[in-house]
Symmetry: C2
Subunit: 419 residues, 2 copies
């Protein structure tokens, strides 16, 4: 069963690694000029200014329908992500000793939004809403320009709505390098968020391994969905959910676990008829070549298969899905029942759609406000606290052979005894 669900192998990219390394080095040395050159080379436009101007923000012209949809999605995300803001943890561990853990926003964060044929406004919201709630001091956004050197107005509208008006028209590995190390006009950040192609992913990995670079949100891989469906599920719904994942890219993986071959047959029929009308049919057909439809004996076995696979998205189109949530141990985001297609979570439930892919759901979480913050520990110790704890610390530092550690306690205890 396990081999059946092997993920598509990612092609070796040592060539990309080297080229990305060269781009990063070029940006570190050459700054803005190199960014302008690389944007001309890769995006086909010679920029006069890297940064989106105030006038471009003032002249955003999109439909009210689009605005309302973006505002609705943003509000949903705000409601849900506000619950993630951590409360200070403070406790007296023994008399005279208080341990406290306080969250702080990471000072400076950089958001990356890929380019392409259509503006990924939902990704802007998924990154910018938790950043706004975390309260990062500096928030910048990079996204590649179109051939006219412009940024899509939907992207600008979504960014502005979340309090981000520092947007740069650069993309690819050069954008990651610019945010990780800074240039004349682009400030260095402490952590970089957002999806991207192989070049962006490789650049994020490289800068995250350099202590002078920047941390990153999470490792990346192709997107994927697993649907667990019983025989009473609607085959058209299941087919539509598989197709919506498959359209993301040729390396997307979609998996159906059903309880009978008959149901799989019904899904296949629905899938073929729906596919004909879809604009991204060619991408979908390629993605479907490494997809799987398998039969499990029962829902519990299906959940076990899912836990081993650790899908980014898991859709339960089964009776009483809520009975099984406690058994799900590895998954990014889970959709319960027939009325929760993945699409709805990608855009408007308020849940974050930046999720661990490629099995990383075993050890990583979906994006949250916590990713935009870090914790600082505080320890307050009174004289009586030190008197109580000190002797134990002396014994433990002796066992570890660290007598300067012991001395820092002993001379304080001596002072207290003398005082």
């Amino acid at each position: 069963m396990k081999n059946n669900l092997a993920r598509p192998l990612l092609s070796e990219n040592s060539d990309i690694a080297q080229k990305v390394g060269e781009i990063i080095q070029a940006v570190r040395v050459g700054g803005d000029n190199v960014l302008i050159d690389l944007t001309e080379k890769f995006d086909g436009v010679k920029l006069a200014e890297l940064q989106v101007s105030p006038a471009e923000f003032e002249n955003i012209n999109i439909s009210d329908e689009s605005k309302n949809a973006i505002i609705f999605a943003k509000n949903q995300l705000e409601i849900n992500h506000a619950t993630q803001l951590p409360k200070p943890q403070k406790i007296q561990t023994c008399e005279g000793v208080i341990c406290e853990r306080q969250a702080r926003p990471i000072d400076r964060v950089g958001l990356y939004i890929p380019g392409g044929t259509a503006p990924l406004i939902s990704t802007v919201l998924m990154l910018a809403v938790p950043a706004q709630i975390a309260g990062n001091g500096l928030k910048i956004l990079c996204t590649p320009p179109n051939k006219q050197g412009q940024t899509d107005p939907h992207i600008l509208f979504a960014a502005q709505l979340c309090g981000i008006e520092t947007v740069y028209k650069i993309g690819g590995a050069q954008a990651i390098a610019a945010m990780a190390y800074g240039t004349e006009s682009i400030p260095k950040v402490d952590k970089i968020f957002g999806p991207g192609n192989r070049w962006v992913t490789q650049a994020k990995q490289l800068v995250s391994q350099d202590s002078e670079g920047a941390a990153i949100d999470m490792p990346a891989g192709p997107s994927e969905v697993m649907v667990i469906a019983d025989d009473e599920a609607n085959p058209a719904f299941v087919a539509a959910d598989l197709l919506s994942q498959a359209e993301h890219g040729v390396d997307s993986q979609v998996i159906l676990i059903a309880l009978s071959e008959q149901f799989i047959g019904r899904v296949r029929s629905a899938l073929e008829s729906q596919l004909e009308k879809l604009s991204r049919k060619n991408i979908i057909i390629q993605a479907l070549t490494h997809s799987r439809m398998i039969v499990a004996e029962n829902i519990n076995q299906a959940i076990n298969i899912s836990n081993n696979y650790a899908p980014e998205h898991l859709i339960l189109q089964i009776n009483h899905p809520e009975k099984y949530t406690d058994k799900i141990s590895n998954a990014g985001s889970v959709f319960l029942g027939p009325w929760a297609p993945e699409t709805i979570g990608d855009y408007v439930t308020g849940s974050n759609h930046v999720l661990p892919t490629y099995g990383y759901a075993k050890n990583y979480s979906g994006l949250s406000v916590l990713d935009f913050m870090k914790f600082i520990s505080f320890q307050s110790v009174t004289k009586s606290g030190l008197v109580k704890m000190g002797p134990y610390a002396e014994i433990l530092s002796s066992i570890e052979g660290l007598d300067a550690h012991k001395n820092a306690v002993s001379l304080r205890l001596a002072e207290l005894n003398n005082g």
Copy 2:
């Protein structure tokens, strides 16, 4: 000021990177036999069994004084870390839509405890207590054996106290490789925790970049302390705290920010006289060569310097340190006042001593229960929830050019309209 506080450069280790890569590959191919060979090569002992036997746990023979100190430290950690266990977050984002986020323990975790001249029992507790609270299904521990092929009984006592009885006598890059990929006798884990030398650090970095490997706790660098002291602080205490950090290793960095040259002079005198009696004097003297003592105009300026440096440990030996905690934005762990030496936090306050070094406190947190868990998102949507949200999702997926996404919503809405 900034250059003044440059951290010691880490020497290039491309040679280590290659050797570590070879060790990892050898372990993946050769399994247990390679582990036995490498342990003979690096630790000087030919092991008959990789795993610590039940008899070795039964025959633990350490003093009651040591046991009591370990138990005290463990209880302190438990009290503090229990506050970190996350509660489920559940909220209705709009009518008919519930978003929930639940924490789950990472299935399998591996803890690494370095060898050396003395047993690092405190590190066992710092890793094993949060793992016990998180409730990971599988917990294993690797630590190099001594020349007689034995594991220090203090380590075994601390591990057993925290519910870990699966301990392997292997160290170095080979231990990290074994836990990341598994061998005949050592189970593969999902995430690896713990400090180590360059080889271990390099191995952790390599396996964390491989989707078939394992995640790791945090990036590592040399340990460091910054002390901010006013003129009323006790120079002997300040000197002792600087020395206790300096004894960790020759690349440790210790920094004092004082308000006058006079005070720095008093600290230097105290430091010289204390140094003479310390067993790790030679290490300390080397560490002090890249340490700094600087004068700030006032406490606020000192805090600014500290925030830019982002120290692993920050000790505030100043009047009313609690007045300044809100201004501290980057630090691993902060010690407030004269009776809170770093030693006490290293062992017994209950705070975790596994902390971000080398400036990583800007974007990473000290170890907590959260690091042993991950979150899963759940989304429940009723018919009316879909009717409310669906049209917005349709608009947003249209803007993004993803019509299979839109279709997954549209055909459900059509079903509801027909039904």
